[in-house]
């Protein structure tokens, strides 16, 4: 009977439709990176939201118009998953030609020889750094060598809500202040706004950037030049003690309130939710903070200590892969982004304030009041004598130290660990993370 041939026919039908399906899928996925005959195709990777992608695509288009034989394909992802995708790609043996790089990770890539030394391109002016901010340049070097061009720089800052300050009737904060002055200022705000449950200060004991300033003010960097822990347990203990006294006096937010704003970014701050008058962050986040609230915000310097603590930190670097086949073209693109008015205007201030003087001049007409405020703050800090260039790079595992600080400071804040036990615990975790 036809039973057996029926089943065979069915098998064939399944097989054919399966193959057809696969072909369809292959066609659908195709067309992502076809290259023309004489043209060169480069890959660019960067992190940021969709809005940054639009700016970047505009810059790429402008560049491709001037260089018709070069095509740039790009991919982007949010910062939180960018390095996952990048590292997975690198693990498989392929790497983008142009890589947006972060200072916390760059040492690792240099160590594995994945990034190109850009000195020759700088010397022959393919990348023109003649009017580049020297402070930003110095802070972006790896072991004294240029492995990526900084696309923007920022200082650590404090941001406060001017309307809350007015309501509290405490007057404006002084231009410079010490940690103790900050504590008493925040306390007076808390007392004045007690009825609204607003605190003067957030509990910043878990913020690695502020901790770094504290450490630098006590005489060392966070790390030694060979990537080990350079701060002491006592420094950690004094840091925890400071914030403990603020919690006890009510100057800063209590443990539970601070723990309710987890995550990174301006929206995860007590300032954004209106529960604290101050926030700590990077100066180029100022406009993001302002976007979150109708109250006018202002920038304030971080408290000073015995030694300078702040430094100009590159927000991101643009690096070239060591194995890239189109290194010269990639370098030309970087130069386009930082010096050519078309490129500069295309990416705007989105990645930070440019290092090149002529780029800043080109953007001058487009500056909004928030941008001007950030520039003014940067100028203020630069001339305050409270900055010193950073002489070390984040070693691998620095991210774990940041998470450890966040968790241990919470343990201390909730009373689950004493200050000395917490300091010991954090110190040991830090040593282990960078070992």
């Amino acid at each position: 009977m036809s039973r057996i041939s029926y089943t065979r026919r069915q098998f064939c039908q399944i097989g054919l439709s399966g193959l057809a399906g696969l072909t369809l899928l292959d066609l659908a996925g195709c067309g992502s990176s076809s290259t023309g005959a004489a043209s060169e195709t480069m890959q660019l990777s960067f992190w940021g939201p969709a809005s940054r992608n639009k700016l970047t695509q505009a810059a790429i288009k402008a560049f491709e118009q001037e260089h018709p034989n070069i095509t740039i394909h790009s991919w982007f992802a949010d910062f939180s998953v960018y390095f996952n995708k990048l590292n997975t790609q690198i693990a498989s043996g392929s790497i983008p030609d142009l890589i947006q790089m972060d200072m916390s990770y760059v040492a690792q890539y240099v160590k594995e020889q994945e990034l190109l030394n850009l000195t020759s391109f700088v010397n022959d002016k393919t990348i023109d750094l003649s009017d580049f901010d020297q402070g930003m340049l110095k802070n972006s070097l790896v072991n004294g060598v240029n492995y990526g061009i900084s696309l923007g720089g920022n200082y650590e800052c404090m941001i406060y809500d001017t309307s809350l300050i007015q309501q509290a009737g405490v007057g404006n904060p002084p231009t410079t202040w010490t940690w103790d002055q900050y504590a008493s200022y925040a306390l007076s705000i808390s007392k004045a706004l007690k009825s609204k449950s607003v605190y003067g200060s957030p509990d910043a004991s878990g913020a690695i950037d502020m901790f770094e300033i504290w450490v630098r003010q006590h005489g060392t960097e966070l790390w030694t030049t060979d990537g080990k822990v350079a701060f002491s347990v006592d420094t950690v203990a004094s840091w925890f003690s400071y914030w403990d006294s603020l919690r006890k006096s009510g100057a800063c937010a209590p443990a539970q309130l601070q723990a309710s704003v987890t995550g990174s970014g301006p929206s995860s701050s007590l300032l954004a939710t209106g529960k604290a008058a101050f926030a700590t962050g990077h100066s180029n986040q100022f406009s993001s903070y302002q976007d979150l609230t109708p109250h006018p915000l202002a920038l304030q310097t971080v408290p000073t200590g015995a030694m300078p603590g702040n430094y100009l930190k590159p927000s991101m670097l643009m690096s070239i892969a060591a194995k890239s086949k189109y290194a010269k073209d990639a370098a030309t693109f970087i130069n386009f982004l930082i010096t050519d008015p078309k490129g500069v205007k295309a990416i705007g201030l989105d990645r930070g304030i440019p290092g090149s003087a002529r780029a800043r001049a080109a953007l001058e007409p487009t500056l909004k009041p928030v941008d001007k405020a950030v520039l003014a703050y940067a100028a203020l800090v630069a001339s305050s004598g409270q900055t010193s260039p950073r002489t070390v790079l984040d070693p691998p595992g620095a991210g774990a130290v940041s998470t450890a600080l966040s968790n241990v400071s919470q343990a201390v804040a909730f009373g689950k660990q004493s200050i000395s036990a917490g300091a010991q615990s954090f110190y040991q975790q830090a040593v282990k993370a960078v070992s």
């Binding site: 089943t7 899928l25 195709c30 992502s32 939201p49 995708k85 997975t88 301006p266 986040q285």
Partner: protein, 305 residues
């Protein structure tokens, strides 16, 4: 109601085959009251289940600065801006990402149903050498977390030249790599009485014919369940789609949605919520249609009375 239960229990315990008539009066009335109670309970539960979706929908119509400041479902201001802005926020309109996701899900569903049912039939009904070993191996496959497997798998797909296409997301499904569904179907098939196999053997049916014409239709609930879960999990699978897709034209919905997030600045929550609501509609619709098949599937095989 409890008293009537124990009364009938005691009555039934005396003789197994005594028929007790359904008495009108107290028992019938309390049955109706019980039904109403159940209905109210289900309704209350439904509200708890659906509240987050209502919150999400309401948030998608709020202007950005009101999303977190007003926690109630009713907002003083409404806007359609999140939907129009979100649709065009990326380089392609969102319909492109919908199409990509649909393609991947369709492929995954067909692949899973086809390959997993074959493997399940083998494990459930056939005898072959080292069967327990293969069974353990099959289960073992789902025990390793995806994060450690993805790097070697990425390298494998790169060698095959599939990176940047939709193939890494679909092709493995045609080879029964989702052991979850093999296991699910095994359990279903084992619930089908083997008397059928005997009857089929009498009629001279071979294994594939039996599989195709008897087991598959009878395990329609399992197949529909597989289809539903494959669809839902593939539709919202973020990490592997992020890793394997590079060109924005091939992006699927989860990857596209992630681009509204900015962990260093401000995320576009309104647009994120609006597009999330839209992306929930197909799954919801899919589920609504197919859950009826669960009932119909059972009734067409005549298992229900």
């Amino acid at each position: 109601m409890l008293t009537s239960l124990s009364r009938s229990d005691r009555a039934g315990a005396d003789t197994r085959f005594r028929r007790s008539q359904i008495r009108p009066g107290p028992r019938w009335f309390s049955k109706k009251a019980a039904r109403l109670l159940v209905y109210l309970f289900v309704l209350a539960g439904a509200f708890i289940m659906i509240y987050p979706l209502l919150w999400l929908i309401s948030a998608s119509f709020k202007p950005e600065d009101l999303i977190f400041s007003t926690s109630s479902l009713i907002s003083p201001q409404w806007t359609l801006g999140n939907y129009s802005d979100g649709w065009n926020a990326l380089d392609y309109p969102f319909s492109q990402f919908f199409a990509n996701s649909l393609l991947v899900c369709a492929g995954a569903i067909i692949g899973n149903i086809f390959s997993c049912s074959l493997a399940a039939y083998a494990f459930a009904r056939l005898q072959f050498k080292y069967k327990p070993f293969w069974f353990a191996l099959m289960l073992g496959g789902i025990l390793l977390p995806m994060h450690v497997l993805i790097v070697p798998q990425y390298i494998l797909f790169k060698e095959l030249g599939w990176i940047g296409t939709l193939l890494p997301l679909v092709a493995p499904k045609f080879f029964a790599t989702d052991a979850f569904f093999i296991f699910l179907m095994i359990q279903f098939i084992r619930g089908i009485p083997t008397e059928l196999d005997d009857a089929a053997r009498i009629d001279g049916c071979n294994h594939f014919s039996f599989y195709w014409r008897v087991i598959l239709p009878l395990s329609l609930p399992a197949l529909v369940t597989t289809a539903i879960f494959t669809f839902i999990w593939t539709w919202s699978d973020f990490f592997s789609q992020l890793i394997y897709l590079s060109d924005e034209s091939t992006y699927t919905i989860p990857v596209a949605l992630s681009q509204f997030i900015d962990s260093t600045g401000n995320s576009a929550y309104g647009q994120l919520f609006a597009m999330s609501v839209l992306s929930l509609l197909p799954i919801f619709g899919f589920f609504l249609i197919f859950q009826r098949l669960l009932i119909q599937g059972a009734s067409t095989t005549g298992l229900k009375g």
